[in-house]
Amino acid sequence: MSKSMGAVKQAIPAEIGGYMDVAMGSSGAAVEAVSGRKVLPIVEGVVLVAALIAPLVLQDYLTVFATRVIILALFALSFDLVWGYAGIMSFGQALFFGSAGYGVALLARDLDITNIFLVLPAGTLIGLTFALLLGGFLLLGRHPSSVIFVSLGTLTGSYAADRLARGWYYLGGQNGIPSIAPMSLGGYEFTEGPAFYYLVLGILVVVYLFCRFLVRSQFGLALAGLRENEQRIAFFGYKAQHLKAIIFAIGGAIAGLAGSLYAFHEGFVWPNMVGVVVSTQVVLYVLFGGSGTLIGAVIGTIIVEGVSFWLSDNYRDIWPIILGVLLLLVILFRPLGLISFVLGERERVGSFGAKPRARAKEKRNAP
């Protein structure tokens, strides 16, 4: 274990050794969890339990706030899947989030469709479609596209969408679409509150498990290879670009799902929701929490949102500055995110082979 950590460090020039030291210097506990994934499930469990009891202990308005955070966590998950696992820097993830939001808002406004079984699939589909289109354009083609190209491509896409939404009268222009009717199921209306909370928590858990299954499978290994060196794995015979497009589309779909929930929960959509602001925000959540762990995305969202909420209450005039400083500190000293306090690099990357126990035996038997 310790050897491998050193290795990563060595791959980086000594000058920034300081940076990596911090990055790699995981706590002793994490080092123990070498081959298995021992820490992650604990963290996941703790977060889940906390999420389950939250509405019981929180005041009403905080439950509503928590619902919003859970929806955003779902959104963050979509980004983590794409960036943390496939190495595709989607700086325009809000495009899928927001367009789905607009889509369901229009359904509700113009067609009076608010049935949960119609609007959520519709939102998911919108996210998926947009991601397929944009991903197809950016990711497929003769030459593998560089990370920077994809990041600026998606950023520009979302920037352009934002401006389009602002300029397009049918979408309410700058003002967006207000007063969206609540999501419904038969006669029941999902207004914000505990019911809505448990609904989105349920969705989050299902999607989380789905993502977890996906990234721990051999497909996840292929993604890990992709992230390291796309060209190399193409030479093995992987259809690297297709894999990327697939994961990008899945990410888009999840973002779309989150976007439609968000639209109904907040009751309005507005151009920022497809734009750079929200796109950057989701990147912040994930990097803050720690990318490539799924749970890091959730934790990052909770903490960033929670801290901003608290700061804006207590340091009214200068909270953006404080938030900036906090972000900077975390990025400086925990470039792998808060999760790296408890999680070692090796466990984060994980391994995709045999079960840990078999491995340990292997290690002993090896010459």
């Binding site: 020039p13 920034i16 911090v22 352009a160 300029g167 200068i318 938030l323 900077l328 470039p335």
Partner: protein, 285 residues
């Protein structure tokens, strides 16, 4: 005829402004591999310093001269304290510089109270040719931009500074093994890029007035320009900026501005898709 002349001048002058803003961004992106999201705020600082000089009753040009030095020095310090840790991870760098930019921007917003403040130009008024009026200050900007461009080009191509800089970015450990002091090079490059941003801010503040989002306004345009021009050289981003700047000033002459606005970005991204190496492939300076 007169109309065409005015149009050409106006379009050119906006192109020059974008070039000026992108110069520093491009140098940092090309030479150091960092897309500096705080670059806009360096521009803002340059503008703010100029404003300060004006508000304190000093001659405006004094502020303009001071701006690049102050911002460059700040860049040097920030590089040593912060940016240095990011070279291995360009994406983390984007976020780190984003946070840095946020801090600077909000601090300046606090300082200027969120207002839009005017700073007069040292050379005001217009140059008149019969019925045609062109802005004297915009003309000055074009001239200074050309001079700065030429200066940068010479610095990077004719001195060993450029070579050291490129070697350092390319392979820092080998650069050290060749006797280059990489920390110094990183610091100097970043400071240089920041100083250019400071200068840009100082020169454009009379045109756009001072406000906290002044730099942010040009940031994405700047990134797109860098990509269109091609990362990896000095010339690339400059060419890209020229194209993007002129295009965004020229398109509104022939179509609805709202459409033109989106079109510029769409065109740019399609262009990059089919010519990923950019207008000028990353060769030489």
């Amino acid at each position: 005829m007169a109309n065409v002349f005015v149009a050409a001048f106006e379009i050119l002058s906006f192109g020059a402004i974008i070039v000026l803003i992108v110069l520093g961004l491009g140098i940092i992106a090309s030479m150091m591999g960092i897309f500096n999201f705080a670059q806009g705020e360096f521009v803002l600082l340059g503008a703010y310093i100029t404003y300060l000089a004006y508000a304190k009753g000093l001659p405006i040009w004094a502020g303009m001269v001071a701006a690049p030095f102050v911002v460059g020095a700040l860049g040097f310090v920030l590089e040593a304290l912060i940016i240095r840790r990011f070279y291995a991870a360009p994406i983390v760098a984007m976020l780190g510089t984003y946070a840095l930019g946020l801090i600077i921007r909000e601090a300046v917003r606090g300082l200027i109270g969120g207002f839009y403040l005017t700073v007069p130009e040292p050379i005001g008024g217009s140059i008149d040719f019969g019925t045609i009026h062109i802005s004297a200050w915009r003309f000055t900007i074009i001239v200074i931009t050309l001079l700065v461009m030429a200066g940068c080009y010479l610095l990077l191509s004719r001195t060993s500074f450029g070579l050291r800089m490129r070697a350092t970015l390319e392979n820092p450990s080998l650069a050290r093994a060749s006797g280059i002091s990489t920390p110094l090079m990183y610091g100097a490059t970043f400071a240089f890029g920041s100083a250019l941003a400071g200068l840009a801010g100082a020169l454009i503040v009379p045109v756009f007035s001072l406000y906290a989002d002044l730099g942010l306004r040009f940031l994405i345009q700047g990134f797109v320009a860098v990509m269109v021009g091609g990362v990896g050289s000095f010339i690339g981003p400059v060419a890209g900026a020229g194209v993007i700047g002129t295009l965004s000033a020229a398109l509104p002459w022939i179509m609805a501005p709202v459409v033109a606005d989106v079109l510029v970005f769409v065109l740019a991204i399609v262009f990059i898709k089919f010519r990923p190496q950019g207008l000028i492939a990353g060769k030489g300076v």
